[in-house]
């Protein structure tokens, strides 16, 4: 069984390779079908693993030795346990659904082959990332998905701003990649291994506080950047420039969750540093709050969803920080379902409105596209965590409630709750603006089966997947937490009256939020909406400030180094100085070469004098 693990990332990677090598001969129709087939095949393998999971909770496949120098060994080694099983399932299956959806959605687009190449490569990279059993291979997946994100965001490259957005996404995440890499160096320098399991064992066995502190901070920055957490969230809203399916897959369901996944994987590292977890929790809660506030004021349908993604990822970090990684993973799963759904649906909406992203220009779509409306509503409910019927309620409110138990829990709880209120508000503001109200007719758009099936599947999941894990004390299935208990440890859960109070408050806040959302939509129609609040619409101006200062510093620095240091100092200064010195020396000597015998004699006289001086010194 374990020997097949490589098939899981292998299929999509093979698809990418076939596409690159023979795509031209195969033709676009063949290529896109083949591309969609690959993640499906991976999903089949994963299904088999699920079936065997009870008997084989952990599978390891060492494919080949990547590098081995002295004490350093890095294998191409894959490992499946419960956590990564969840992740690969999301990556492969959501990947498949989005491939499927794209068949119609992007038909006729320029660069379709390129699209499927990167999409396949992405799925492969994501699978490698989640299955990697050492940090270096994980880093390989990490970078591969970053590349695909770049390429797909810049998919419509003919507009400069799309290309720019892709680069921005890559650059900002690379800040994290860099610190992550340095963190890897540090861990390697200290523990001489990059195998995750061995590393974690050694960390708990022989902790070195200073190294662990530095390493955990560095790795954490990597995770934060990948998961678009404050203040490295800057890239995610801009990366909405890519096709909506890309946003669905990469910027909602999979890649952005890699940071969360990494922090769950390396939890013992963070736990070994006192206070680090709490910092993670605070950053998560703050990001959830911050991004939700930004989401309130956006008018671009995809930007609303982008900020909501940032916010939801904040919840996941909060969960990791308060020692409830299982809940974080649960929310990750739920979020993957509803956010992929929302993005795909949003893509359809945008197509209907002829590539206009502005929600103020939309409205009343519910009659024109009933299926789209219902599925979108399912997603929105899950996002807003509508009590009882949506999956979001079971995953997100569980995190909010659990945060109460953490040290300084009130602060975290308050931030998370406020974020939940705003989430419900902007989610339903979006829904009301797009689907309710006075109809504004867009282009006729027929959803084919390739689009309907993914929407339906994900809509069902957005509602039903939460029932895996009912709140503590409720009747119903409690499957999720016990299943992960062995791997991730016990999860703190409020109990008794406290639980009841917290759950009630959470539900109430959501309902209030929905009402606020309704109001916000109305105000927006009347032209006095939240979008007029510049502070929120511009996301607290963080991005503007960063763009104002950072690129000029880098480009200016480069210009300074080229003109100031290389040209002025090295070329003109040092080399030029030497050249000038030689020239001037030459000029002095040429003075003697004026052709006059008397000048020549003078030089000889000087030489004679010099020699006589030597005589004086020599005796």
């Amino acid at each position: 069984m374990a020997d097949w693990l490589w098939l899981i990332p292998g299929f999509p990677l093979l698809g990418a390779l076939i596409n690159a090598g023979f795509g031209q001969w195969l033709g676009v129709p063949m290529v896109k079908r083949l591309a969609a087939l690959m993640p499906l095949l991976s999903s089949v393998v994963i299904l088999v693993i699920w079936l065997e999971h009870a008997t084989h909770p952990e599978l390891v496949d060492r494919v080949w030795t990547w590098m081995a120098v002295g004490s350093f060994v890095a294998e191409i080694g894959l490992r499946i346990d419960a956590v990564s099983l969840v992740m690969v399932s999301i990556a492969a299956f959501a990947g498949f659904l989005i491939h499927l959806y794209s068949q119609q959605f992007l038909a006729g687009d320029y660069g379709e082959r390129r699209y499927y190449f990167y999409l396949n490569l992405f799925v492969g990279g994501m699978l490698v990332l989640t299955m990697a059993d050492n940090l270096l291979l994980l880093y390989l997946g990490w970078e591969t998905v970053g590349l695909c994100s770049y390429a797909l965001v810049a998919h419509w490259y003919r507009q400069k701003k799309n290309a720019w957005a892709g680069r921005k996404a890559f650059v900002v995440t690379r800040i994290g990649d860099t610190t992550f890499a340095i963190g890897i160096f540090l861990l390697f320098a200290q523990y001489h291994t990059l195998d995750i399991h061995r590393l974690l064992q050694m960390i708990s066995g022989q902790p070195v506080p200073s190294v662990l502190l530095a390493a955990s901070v560095l790795v954490l920055i990597g995770a934060l950047a990948k998961s678009a957490q404050f203040p490295l969230h800057l890239w995610l809203p801009d990366s909405m420039a890519g096709p909506s399916t890309v946003s669905a897959l990469i910027h909602a369901a999979t890649m952005v969750t890699a940071g969360v996944y990494l922090s769950i994987r390396l939890l013992p590292l963070f736990a070994a540093v006192p206070g680090m977890l709490w910092v993670i929790a605070l950053l998560g809660a703050w990001t959830a709050f911050f991004a939700a506030s930004c989401g309130l004021a956006q008018v671009d349908i995809k930007r609303v969803l982008a900020y909501s993604t940032i916010s939801q990822l904040g919840y996941m970090f909060l969960a990791v920080g308060i020692g409830a990684p299982a809940l974080g993973l649960f929310h990750l799963l739920v979020h993957a379902c509803f956010k992929a759904l929302l993005f795909m649906a949003a893509g359809a909406v945008i197509s209907i409105y002829a590539e206009d992203h502005d929600i103020r220009h939309m409205g009343g779509l519910k009659n024109q596209q009933p299926l789209l409306r219902w599925t979108f509503l399912a997603g929105i409910s899950a996002l807003a965590a509508v009590p009882l019927i949506s999956a979001g309620f079971y995953s997100k409110d569980a995190i909010i409630d659990a945060s109460w138990l953490a040290p300084h829990g009130a602060l975290l709880y308050a931030l998370a709750l406020a974020a939940a209120l705003m989430t419900a508000a902007y989610a339903f503001r979006l829904y009301f603006l797009v689907f309710e109200g006075e109809p504004r007719v867009g282009e006729p758009y027929q959803l084919g089966w390739g689009m309907k099936i993914p929407l339906l599947i994900l809509a069902v999941a957005s509602i039903g997947i939460g029932w895996l894990q009912f709140p503590p004390g409720w009747p119903g299935p409690h499957l999720w937490l016990p299943w992960l208990r062995a791997e991730l440890g016990p999860t703190p859960e409020p109990s008794g009256n406290l639980a009841l109070v917290l759950e009630t408050v959470g539900a109430a806040v959501t309902l209030v939020g929905i009402w606020l959302g309704y109001l916000a939509a109305r105000w927006e129609r009347q032209g006095r909406g939240l979008s007029r609040i510049g502070f929120l619409a511009h996301a607290w101006y963080v991005d503007a400030v960063a763009l104002r200062f950072l690129p000029p510093v880098v480009y200016g620095g480069a210009r300074f180094l080229r003109l100031g240091v290389e040209h002025l100092l090295f070329r003109s200064g040092i080399l030029g100085g030497i050249r000038e010195g030689l020239q001037w020396g030459g000029v002095g000597l040429v003075w003697g070469e004026n052709g006059l015998v008397s000048r020549y004699v003078a030089f000889m006289g000087f030489g004679l004098l010099l020699l006589l001086l030597l005589l004086w010194g020599g005796l």
């Binding site: 030689l582 020239q583 020396g585 030459g586 000029v587 000597l589 040429v590 003697g592 070469e593 052709g595 015998v597 000048r599 020549y600 004699v601 030089f603 000889m604 000087f606 030489g607 004679l608 010099l610 020699l611 006589l612 030597l614 005589l615 010194g617 020599g618 005796l619």
Partner: protein, 445 residues
């Protein structure tokens, strides 16, 4: 009367010199004069080889003198063979040959003499012919200027040499290089005398700051004469300097001071020169510096200096031979034409320039290597580093000389003789593979 073996080569050359002048009596005979001279020169080389390590009558063919003497003979032969085909030899070829042989005679005296008087006579013997040769009939007007400048300054240098000899005699009471008292350097007078000799030799060798004349002469004089000047006369001076330095090993300061100045000045001046002949003149200044650097390094330096003298002579031959093919007033090297008409000489010139720059594996590199070795051995670090840097700098003018196309549009008319290609091919072989023989030479020395 038995003739001292050590005098055999000198007598041979002397006799041939006198005979050579008579060739001009007949127009038919005159054509054969350079050939006669070349043959004599080769025989002289053989005679030097035969007389090696003989001592007598104030001459001593020690190993370095033998090596240089043999070289001088062969070099003179090469020059004469070359000149035979050159338009310059159309006027008075017998006299030209005779004067060339006189230069050879002087050079042989210089390398082998064990007395100051011998050195003095040798110097005069090789200086005086140039008064006439430099302004040989048929050469340009500027050649006259070059000859006059040379005559005036060489006269001054001779006077200094004379002063030096007299002062040394005053100090030591002997005209022998190795006086009965044991050492050349006994007091103030002998030091002063030695310095005066150095000054005179420095002039002849164009060591900075006595170098000012050299570029004018290289530029203005007829190329075959410059060929003779560099390849024979200068090597003779180098030999004399080796003789002097080997008897005054206790006092090397002036040598390496002059060496440093000369390396720097020569390279800086050459760097500024656009015209190839001047450039060669200045580069000769730099090479004199490298040579003195070897001499300045003490006893081991004598060997390196001998090798350097030999290599320098060969490189000078190899570079001026092709240059002499060009019209006298060439500013740059018309590579295109040269490559088409005289491919062998073009190759030789490029190789010679690289060799002068010290590009391995040419003999120029190995000669410099020897200098570096002895300088480091003597602990003269600054000199070694300076030499390294200056050698590198010399690439900055030698290479542009190779790859710079002649700026003038017209295509020059080259001189031509069938024998030159063979000479050129021989030169290429010697420059490229000569170093294989050098270590063997070292063991001889």
């Amino acid at each position: 009367m038995a003739i001292e073996a050590s005098l055999e080569p000198l007598i041979l050359v002397g006799a041939a010199t006198i005979i050579a002048f008579f060739f001009d009596l007949s127009r038919h005979l005159a054509r054969w004069a350079p050939g006669f001279g070349a043959l004599t020169a080769i025989l002289t080389a053989a005679a030097v080889f035969h007389s090696r390590l003989t001592l007598g009558a104030g001459f001593y063919w020690d190993s370095s003198a033998s090596v240089l003497g043999a070289y001088l003979g062969l070099a003179t032969a090469a020059v004469l063979v070359f000149t035979a085909g050159h338009p310059l030899a159309r006027r008075l070829p017998g006299a030209l040959t005779g004067l060339s042989l006189t230069v050879l005679l002087g050079a042989l005296c210089l390398v082998s003499s064990q007395t100051l008087l011998g050195l003095f006579v040798g110097l005069e013997l090789q200086v005086l012919p140039f008064f006439a040769l430099l302004a040989w009939p048929g050469s340009r007007r500027v050649a006259l200027e070059a000859a006059t400048k040379y005559a005036l300054l060489a006269g001054l240098a001779s006077a200094l040499f004379g002063l030096g000899v007299a002062t040394l005699f005053l100090g030591n009471g002997s005209l022998a290089l190795i006086p009965p008292a044991g050492s050349l350097l006994t007091g103030f007078a002998s030091h002063l005398g030695l310095l005066l000799l150095y000054a005179a030799l420095a002039f002849e060798l164009a060591v900075a700051p006595f170098h000012t004349w050299v570029a004018d002469i290289y530029e203005g004089a007829p190329a075959p004469i410059v060929l003779l000047l560099g390849a024979v006369a200068k090597v003779g001076i180098l030999g004399a300097w080796i003789d002097l330095a080997s008897v005054s090993e206790s006092w090397t300061t002036p040598l390496w001071v002059l060496a440093a100045i000369s390396m720097v000045a020569g390279n800086l001046l050459a760097l500024r020169s656009q015209r190839i002949r001047r450039l060669m003149g200045y580069s000769a200044v730099a090479h004199a510096g490298y040579f003195l650097a070897a001499l300045g390094a003490g006893p081991l330096g004598i060997v390196a200096a001998t090798v350097y003298a030999l290599a320098y002579g060969l490189m000078h031959l190899a570079s001026f031979l092709p240059l002499a093919v060009l019209p006298e007033d060439s500013h740059g090297i018309p590579w295109k034409v040269l490559r088409q008409r005289q491919p062998v000489l073009a190759g030789l010139l490029a190789l010679a320039l690289l060799s002068l720059a010290g590009m391995p594996p040419s003999i120029g590199f190995f000669a410099k290597l020897g200098v570096l070795v002895v300088a480091i051995h003597a602990g003269l670090w600054p000199l070694a580093v300076l030499l390294a840097l200056m050698s590198a700098l010399s690439f900055a003018y030698y290479l542009p000389a190779i790859w710079r196309a002649d700026s003038s549009e017209r295509s020059p008319v080259l001189h031509h003789a069938s024998s030159w290609s063979y000479l050129g091919a021989l030169g290429i072989v010697v420059l490229l593979l000569g170093w294989i023989g050098l270590p063997a030479l070292l063991t001889v020395l």
